[in-house]
Symmetry: C2
Subunit: 211 residues, 2 copies
């Protein structure tokens, strides 16, 4: 039984990590695991795991632990991975290409349907089987297609206008790799900002602290 | 005055974001800013900002607010950006190339000195002015060079052996993009794991919740 209401964002952010570790366990043919053992390999505490999973109804059995495949499937359902959200990429530079190469969208609940750019040199070429389309023709595209997710790999200078345009066309979720925080004053729009440079600066601080 | 001891990891993780916003303010020629105003544009509270910055001695003046340039420079010092840590890339695939293209390492406290791969087709070619070297010759490289940071863009299957090898050679910090958590049981080694797929799955959950 899943009870998604009022689950805190920090619990939600931990779910993908459970999902990743459970996938790894399945690859190692592990069929069941105690919360103590799972906590140990994940570097968290067993009460934390039980508390997190209880937000969605809890899935373990006392004295048995968790069935790895069942728990993975439950978390997959909670995350909504099977829904396959139609997704477009805005900005086909090195980063955009790398993201499409590196990430297995299909297994993560997304269906990549098109990429857009403004560079006439690449418009019309193929990217992972889909044609790179002219960003200036995006209205036409939305008359036939209804993507809900946009991956933004564009310069900061273009971000504001593109963001507003995409919302007006019906985009509900942004995976933002551009060097700015998309601000969310609309509760019906979800933004995941990925700030690689923030992570790098944290590493910088922590390594300098070692000296 | 900086007092870095006992600063919590969550405060440290917020510093790069302050740094980013202060840079943006400077680009807009903003010379000084109140903590209320800064809090407003960053989407946090003014007490949070004052509390975070007080961990390092505090930098504002009552009735004046913060001098943007001074505060940026202080945070830059705290982060250790000027130290220019020598950095190598392990794994020159799409993702490795994209990271080198996308990130301005020099302005973030890092000095990119070499890239390594095992693919004979690309070994010897240039990447951002540095030769791509054979990973099998990495011991030779470390006899002359002393990089402290490694960016890992390698498959999970190779991660463990590469990680241990690099630690034995003297690497102190890892920026890890591979699909696994590097576990840290050595307090003298710093790891920043970047799990793009975890962020994507969080987006998946949150957009599905909208329906």
């Amino acid at each position: 039984m899943s009870n998604k209401n009022n689950v805190s964002i920090s619990v939600i952010r931990r779910l993908p990590r459970y999902y990743r570790f459970l996938n790894d366990l399945l690859m190692q043919d592990v069929e069941r695991i105690s919360s103590d053992k799972l906590a140990n390999i994940m570097g968290v505490t067993a009460p934390q795991i039980r508390q997190d999973l209880n937000c969605f109804g809890g899935f373990g059995q006392q004295g048995y632990g968790y069935n790895v495949l069942e728990l993975k499937n439950e978390i997959s359902k909670i995350l909504g991975i099977k829904n396959k959200l139609d997704t477009i990429l805005i900005g086909v530079g090195n980063l955009g290409r790398a993201i499409l190469t590196h990430i297995d969208f299909d297994s993560k609940g997304f269906n990549f349907i098109a990429a857009f750019d403004k560079d006439s040199e690449i418009i019309g070429k193929k990217l992972f089987g889909k044609e790179i389309l002219d960003i200036n023709n995006i209205d036409e595209f939305f008359k036939i297609n209804k993507p809900v997710i946009a991956i933004l790999c564009i310069p900061k200078s273009e971000s504001d206008i593109v963001y507003k345009k995409l919302i007006s066309l019906g985009i509900k979720g942004f995976w933002n790799f551009s060097h700015f925080d998309l601000s969310v004053d609309n509760k019906d729009i979800i933004v995941e900002n990925v700030h690689l440079e923030d992570s790098l600066l944290t590493l910088c601080y922590r390594v300098n602290e070692l000296k």
